[in-house]
């Protein structure tokens, strides 16, 4: 079973910084980092313009379907997807096997520029993911006794559903 994805303040900030820089460097409208299971990890840019939850879920569905297609023809994965619209375009790439980077851009940028900048930023993000994975293993070894969820009571859970 895959382990839970746990992200702390510091990693979150680093990822957000990378996204923000990538947005400026690539002249993109918005950038989203999404977990492969469809949950948004971080974002930068004109995020208020979009339904970010739907965007994350559909992007993950899209990547999952494309992964399925790749396997059908004997490929391991298609690591980059590109959707071309009339004004806005979407560049989707896989980062560190676990996450999806979604770049929304218009004609103020170009596919070439986005590809180039995404490549560089991906390396930086992969390093953060690696750090997260290492920490997860360490935490497991330390029995993760500090988790706030260890103290959830039945009453807490019932309270959630009392209305």
């Amino acid at each position: 079973m895959s382990t839970d994805l746990v992200i702390y303040q510091e990693e979150y900030k680093t990822l957000e910084d990378v996204l923000r820089r990538l947005r400026v460097d690539s002249n993109a409208r918005a950038i989203f980092l999404i977990d492969k299971n469809g949950q948004q990890i971080a974002a930068a840019g004109e995020i208020d313009q979009f339904d970010t939850t739907s965007l994350a879920s559909l992007t993950a569905g899209n990547v999952a379907a494309t992964d399925g297609l790749a396997k059908l023809i004997g490929e391991r994965e298609f690591s980059v997807l590109f959707h071309e619209g009339q004004q806005d375009h979407i560049h989707i790439s896989i980062v560190g096997k676990r996450a999806i980077l979604l770049v929304i851009f218009d004609d103020r940028s170009s596919l070439g520029l986005v590809r180039l900048r995404v490549k560089r930023a991906s390396g930086e993000m992969e390093a953060v993911f690696e750090q997260m994975a290492n920490r997860a293993t360490e935490a497991e070894a330390a029995a993760s006794s500090a988790s706030p969820f260890a103290e959830i009571t039945d009453e807490d859970i019932d309270a959630l559903f009392s209305e």
Binding site: S57, G68, F149, I157, F161
Partner: protein, 197 residues
């Protein structure tokens, strides 16, 4: 796979509604969507055919409130029930935290129910999950139809591990929230379990 974000103080969990075609999975989600306050829900997405059969999935994000200062967010998905959409069904189970099985109470659908549970077991296994361990609730839907199979008989056929089981009429909402609540509780208890090691 629960996603815990300490920066935003959020817990994100994924619940998948599974079951045979035309059993009422989408209707469950639709009812939950209709009855949930605007501020607690996101947009419901249905990737359906022109005939309104689920093609890929339905998706509904829900906020259930706070536990220990963390906002609990549940992402509800359905799978396409028709047998030949197995490839899509498999994809949706990726990273699932809990499953609701929506069984059709009509006599003619009993074989389809049984086959679908077996298919769920197999597809979970491919993702490294075990139906015996994963948070799971069972729903007997369409109890309002005439001539449905008696409860005890359905239970004998479909019960997997003494999971919480509910009678439902998804079109009018009977049993819908009870089922959701049961699986959500199991997920949070699971989370506590894994935190205490």
């Amino acid at each position: 796979m629960t996603f815990i974000n300490y920066a935003n103080k959020e817990i994100n969990c994924k619940i998948v509604y599974y079951g045979p075609g035309l059993g009422g999975k989408t209707t469950n989600l639709q009812y939950i969507y209709d009855k949930t306050a605007l501020e607690s829900k996101g947009k419901m997405i249905s990737l359906a055919t022109e005939a309104d059969r689920t093609l890929f999935f339905d998706f509904l994000p829900l906020d259930l409130g706070k536990v220990r200062g963390f906002t609990t967010r549940f992402h509800l998905y359905t799978v396409p029930g028709q047998v030949f959409y197995d490839a899509s069904r498999k994809l949706i189970l990726k990273g699932v935290d809990g499953v609701v099985f929506v069984a059709d109470s009509q006599e003619a659908r009993m074989d389809a129910n049984v086959e679908s549970i077996r298919n769920l077991e197999e597809n979970l296994e491919e993702h490294g999950f075990d139906l015996r361990k994963i948070p799971y609730a069972l729903q007997f839907n369409k109890r309002d139809l005439p001539g449905v199979v008696p409860l005890d008989q359905m239970y004998r056929m479909l019960n997997y591990k003494r999971e919480p089981t509910f009678e439902a009429v998804a079109t009018t909402g009977v049993g819908v929230f009870d089922t959701l609540r049961a699986v959500a509780k199991l997920i949070l208890k699971d989370l506590r379990q894994s935190a205490t090691g």
